[in-house]
């Protein structure tokens, strides 16, 4: 047996009891299958998912001998929520079509938002540029060349006001993809809401605010894990008191998957991150049912249709069990895992970019059939640049075609009961639970991150996948097969003069505001940071005085320190 073969066998699912095919299945294998294979053998020795998970030739009732539909599936809207968290699923309400957008200045992005809303999009989702994500103002030396490039530049409340100009925050839901500086950015959003007269108790949306997956995968961190987790806990606590309809965190597997993980790793590391956040809130003295209903999740929608479907169904089942058994939650809303999904950016190809529309449609379909609460579909040109308006429109239309034309929304969990889907759901659950136990044994996720455990698992999986593509064991259409010569497509160009204009704007802001007031507010923030006050009220006062994001993050860099990773290659 080759090493490669041995590895595959070793990672094959361990069935709880040996598979016992029925006499009818054995007869089929003997009398029908074997003669066919003798004439026409399989195309390959192994059939695996995009995550290299082995898939059987056929699934039958023999694979579900140990299962109990009442216990393992239940009904839609009832625990264990395998079939979805709403009793009617998409018959009463479709998922939120939430296209992630942001580029250039606050004004540029405001125009794109208002366009998307006019085209039937139902929620906003803000992409911030890298300086903002790293807590630097647009005029910081390290921001050079990055201002407005992969998202919108937001350096102060003045930018946030321009971003939501003429968009009533009382009526839209807004998702903000920001992590290390999530708390000050959220404070800016709350300040805009207050200025518009929107009631904090009624505004809704989601803050990504998931710092653990930054250490694991996306690497946009500022402070070390412990102070970072304190800030996250502050936001969850503040939200539970003041913004009962806002999700203060979106615990994200998306970036873990984009970094190259398998589906099972994505699921396991995300849920284990969720456990870590819950533990921090409990240590703070909060009651689980006071905050758990507002924890939300974010998963990738990758190419392998059934593996993704199984992942979403397993996610709900594991989380309800974790909340009930591990944390003793009593409120069913604490048990139900709500999630956003986004199609897989890493699956898009620069080659033959129109093929990406098809990939995205298949991925989006898996997310919908997996019961997603909201969805972003990528644009066909994103292996080249940020999307043009026309590419972003096709991406939104893809969701609308699934919603209104495909018929998949007519019934809840259409694949429920499929031998294959139920077996794969069980196996993905088992694989994820094994990882969760391993991380528990390491002392939790922060300890695991410090030892490089999830980072190494992901790097290994990413490399294995690349090798499989290079060897053509995995075919990527237009990349390692069906290759053609082609003409380039038109892409979005981001204005390079923005950094200069943002710099002028910041100089004017610093001249017009009361710098004594800013200093006073930053001092109170520093003071709170060394003590154990919740930071949110201090951040709110600082942003209202027009302290910039960079000034605020610097004020916290002093007491908290900055994080440096040990790179694993």
């Amino acid at each position: 047996m080759t090493d490669e073969k041995a590895r595959k066998v070793a990672s094959a699912p361990a069935f709880e009891s040996p598979r016992k095919p029925s006499p009818a299945e054995r007869a089929w294998e003997e009398n029908t299958l074997k003669p066919t294979l003798a004439k026409s053998p399989d195309r390959a020795a192994d059939f695996t998912t995009v995550s290299s998970y082995p898939i059987q030739r056929l699934y039958t009732e023999a694979d579900l001998a140990d299962s109990n539909p009442e216990r393992d599936l239940g009904a839609p809207g009832e625990p264990p929520y395998t079939r979805g968290i709403h009793p009617a699923m998409y018959r009463d309400r479709l998922w939120t079509m939430r296209q992630f957008a942001g580029f250039g200045s606050a004004e540029d992005t405001n125009r794109r938002f208002r366009y998307l809303l006019s085209q039937g999009q139902t929620g906003l989702s803000v992409a911030f540029d890298l300086p903002t994500l790293m807590g630097y103002d647009s005029d910081h030396p390290l921001a050079e060349g990055e201002v407005g490039k992969c998202g919108v530049a937001i350096s102060s409340l003045a930018d946030m006001e321009a971003l939501f100009d003429q968009i009533p925050l009382a009526d839209v839901t807004t998702s903000m993809t920001i992590n290390s500086p999530a708390a000050p950015i959220w404070a800016m959003y709350l300040a805009v809401a207050e200025k518009q007269g929107a009631d904090w108790r009624k505004i809704s949306g989601t803050l990504q605010n998931d710092i653990l997956k930054e250490y694991i995968a996306q690497k946009e961190y500022i402070y070390p894990p412990e102070p970072s987790l304190r800030i996250v806990t502050d936001t969850i606590e503040f939200g539970a008191k003041h913004t009962p309809k806002f999700n203060p965190i979106s615990i994200s597997g998306y970036h873990i998957r984009e970094a190259g993980s398998t589906a099972i790793q994505e699921l396991a590391f995300t849920l284990r991150d969720g456990i870590e956040y819950v533990e921090h809130c409990l240590r703070r003295g909060m009651q689980v049912d006071d905050f758990a209903p507002r924890l939300s999740f974010f998963f990738n929608a990758h190419n392998d249709f059934f593996e993704e479907l199984a992942k979403y169904r397993a996610a709900r089942r594991i989380w309800q069990n974790v909340m009930r058994e591990r944390f003793g939650a009593k409120n069913p809303r604490s048990w139900a895992l709500r999630f956003h999904s986004q199609t897989a950016g890493c699956s898009l190809t620069a080659q033959q970019p129109y093929n990406n529309v098809v990939r995205t449609a298949v991925q989006a379909l898996a997310a919908v059939l997996g019961g997603t609460q909201s969805l972003h579909t990528n644009s066909l040109d994103e292996a080249w640049a940020l999307p043009t308006e026309s590419a972003a429109t096709i991406a939104l239309r893809t969701q609308q075609i699934i919603a209104y034309e495909s018929g998949v929304t007519n019934t809840a969990d259409p694949f429920g009961g499929s031998y294959f889907v139920e077996t794969l759901t069980n196996e993905v659950e088992r694989g994820a639970r094994d990882y969760i136990e391993k991380i528990d044994a390491l002392g939790g996720m922060v300890a695991a991150i410090e030892r490089g455990f999830p980072q190494r698992e992901i790097a290994d999986a990413a490399y294995r996948y690349q090798v499989a593509v290079d060897r053509k064991e995995k075919i990527v259409v237009g990349v390692n097969d069906y290759v053609v010569n082609e003409k380039p497509i038109e892409t979005l160009h981001i204005d390079d003069t923005l950094a200069g204009r943002q710099g002028d704007r910041l100089r004017k802001l610093r001249a017009d505001r009361s710098n004594a007031e800013v200093e006073r507010r930053l001092n109170s923030l520093r003071h709170a940071a060394v003590g154990d006050d919740n930071l949110m009220p201090h951040l709110f006062e600082a942003v209202k005085a027009y302290a910039t994001l960079g000034e605020i993050c610097d004020a916290l860099r002093q007491p908290f320190g900055v994080y440096q990773e040990v790179a694993i290659t």
């Binding site: 890298l130 300086p131 994500l133 790293m134 630097y136 390290l142 921001a143 050079e144 060349g145 990055e146 490039k149 992969c150 930054e214 996306q218 690497k219 946009e220 961190y221 984009e258 970094a259 190259g260 890493c346 898009l348 190809t349 620069a350 080659q351 292996a383 080249w384 640049a385 940020l386 790097a459 990413a462 490399y463 690349q466 090798v467 593509v469 290079d470 990527v476 237009g478 990349v479 390692n480 380039p488 497509i489 892409t491 160009h493 981001i494 390079d496 990773e565 790179a567 694993i568 290659t569």
Partner: protein, 137 residues
């Protein structure tokens, strides 16, 4: 006499933290028998240029997905010229719009590898370049 190993610096400039590509390439080049130094995240062009000198590399591979390539590469190429490192091969891997490729090559970038490039294509390119730069070595 054993053949001298090709030395490659894989660098991740700018604020972006998406390091999947950089790490996969680092590993692939190492598996192909090259000596690979990975800088880690958030390197300025100054840090990359001085690491390249210190490590005496034949090749610098930059991983950039954030759209900041024009600014970063212009500065790095100026620094390398100023330090007399004109024989080092500079490559980019990442998300680079078609419209920017010609200017990047004009500035001295040897090749730009877009998503979908096989690791073998990069290994082959580096071997050819280094062989051409040191004939008879």
């Amino acid at each position: 006499m054993p053949e001298k190993k090709i030395r490659v610096l894989i660098a991740k400039p700018g604020l972006d933290g998406h390091d999947r590509g950089a790490k996969v390439i680092a590993r692939a080049l190492r598996d192909a028998g090259m000596e690979v130094i990975y800088t880690g995240l958030r390197q300025t062009p100054e840090m990359i240029a001085s690491a390249a000198i210190q490590e005496d590399v034949d090749v610098i591979g930059l991983s950039i997905l954030s759209g900041a390539h024009n600014t970063i590469c212009a500065r790095l190429m100026d620094l390398l010229r100023a330090k007399g490192m004109t024989d080092v091969t500079v490559l980019i891997g990442g998300i680079i719009p078609e419209a920017d490729i010609a200017d990047l090559k004009k500035s001295g970038i040897a090749e730009i590898f877009l998503p979908g490039t096989t690791t073998q294509a990069i290994v082959d390119f580096i071997r050819q370049r280094v062989a051409a730069a040191h004939p008879g070595a």
